[in-house]
Subunit: 265 residues, 2 copies
């Protein structure tokens, strides 16, 4: 099989994330679709896309609390509506990819995903493997999913990445986000925050133990997970035009690289 690239497109890129109602960023979706068309070489690589939920997911989840489990009948309806909204978003994303003649096939993870206490327990990959073999581009996304312990929890795009990358033996992961990568302190609070160009196990522990550094919680968790996964990963800004295309073509250095040259520091 060709070398597999897993590309995550953050929900903050494809939706207007701060809106309380589902709100699309169609301009970004169109641009990113064109970048994928230009950057992806189907002769050389296979590609899985995963996108986030942004304003199609976070407000309704926060409002209904379904991520903490289902306690009422009303929350079952909220579960259904949250899933429906994710499929609507996915259809809109795939529509633009398909317009660019990319065989981007919607792939709802929760049809087979089983969670346990908020963690992914199993996801059937037979069909997804088959799709990749015949050169389709499966497009997965964060979803509410059945949880055997608490009835419902959220299967995040990041968790899907880890599961797929591990079980499909991905050679490279690209995280397109709304920041340029990982900083040594919060760039919104600290003017002198510096982008960390390369991340290894060694500088992660140095950062965690230093009281001067303040890698934000979410990003720290993401980086820890990536390091544990051990697959070459780049965290880049998908807001900056051309980055996704360049990354797909194999260009390095646009953001933070993790697990590259793992022997060195």
């Amino acid at each position: 099989m060709k070398e597999l690239i897993v590309l995550k497109i953050g929900g903050s890129l494809i939706t207007k994330k701060s809106e309380q109602k589902p709100s699309l960023n169609i301009k970004n979706i169109k641009r990113i679709s064109a970048e994928i068309k230009n950057g992806f070489n189907p002769e050389k690589n296979s590609l899985v896309l995963i996108h986030g939920a942004g304003s199609y997911g976070h407000p309704i989840v926060k409002r209904t609390g379904i991520h903490k489990g289902i306690k009422t009948k009303e929350q079952l309806v909220d579960f259904a509506e949250t899933q429906r909204l994710q499929n609507v978003l996915n259809s809109l994303v795939c529509k633009e990819l398909i317009k660019k003649k990319l065989p981007a096939v919607p792939c709802q993870p929760s049809s087979s995903a089983v969670m346990k206490n908020g963690k992914l327990d199993s996801l059937d990959l037979k069909a997804i493997k088959g799709m990749l073999e015949i050169n389709l581009i499966p497009v997965l996304y964060g979803v509410p999913a059945y949880d055997s312990a608490q009835k419902c929890s959220i299967l995040s795009g990041d968790e899907i990445i880890s599961y797929l990358a591990k079980n499909l033996n991905a050679s490279r992961i690209i995280h397109a986000t709304d920041v340029s990568g990982v900083y040594d302190s919060d760039p919104k609070k600290n003017k002198n925050a510096a982008l960390i160009k390369k991340f290894t196990k060694n500088n992660l522990s140095a950062l965690s133990s230093s009281s001067n550094t303040d890698v934000t919680g979410g990003m720290m968790k993401k980086v820890s997970e990536i390091i544990e996964l051990g697959i070459e990963t780049e965290i880049i800004s998908g807001l900056e035009k051309g980055n996704i295309e360049k990354a797909l073509k194999g260009q390095k250095g646009m953001g933070t690289a993790v697990n590259f040259n793992r022997s060195g520091v």
Copy 2:
């Protein structure tokens, strides 16, 4: 677990089937959603819904030929677009069900389905079983799916019914179609065509061997499959107001009953 009802809603009910472009029959969807809300008793039963594709599926499949397998790169894009259209239709159907406060959760079968030479080989049911246990109503639908022999084939709503009914041990199947049931000859060609109220293995073979009878090919195949499945099944007209509601409540005799009182003829 509660007794499981599998309800199939034909594509000819929820779409304008003769249209060449995807065209919704929103009036029917709203009415059928209300009937399901009124007829389904979640204290007594579990419910799986399966809907057909109608004008969201048949024209594009016929035009692109993807049901016969994938031969070109363009057909991969057609595969993706066909899947996308089914998700769009499903989102619209679920929207109306959810408006009625039914926990109708979209469930894309092709995320895990693997076909082989046009027949369903495997479909992961762990998540669907879990959804039923917590009282969700999974809503599945006919889709293009990965085929290990010919790359793509169509997983029809009818095939999903058989698979689910068998593997989830359903107690009853309701087929809501655009005809009143099975006739002893084509009612469009023969004024004297009579509705067969009850079907068993015996009158199926009588009909097949008689040169006077002309049960249409599709319906004959459907009935043969139902008889083989051995689960109590009713084929009713979903165009006639109230039928779906009555059938869900357990009322009999609106159309053709198959596998009821199997010992008698």
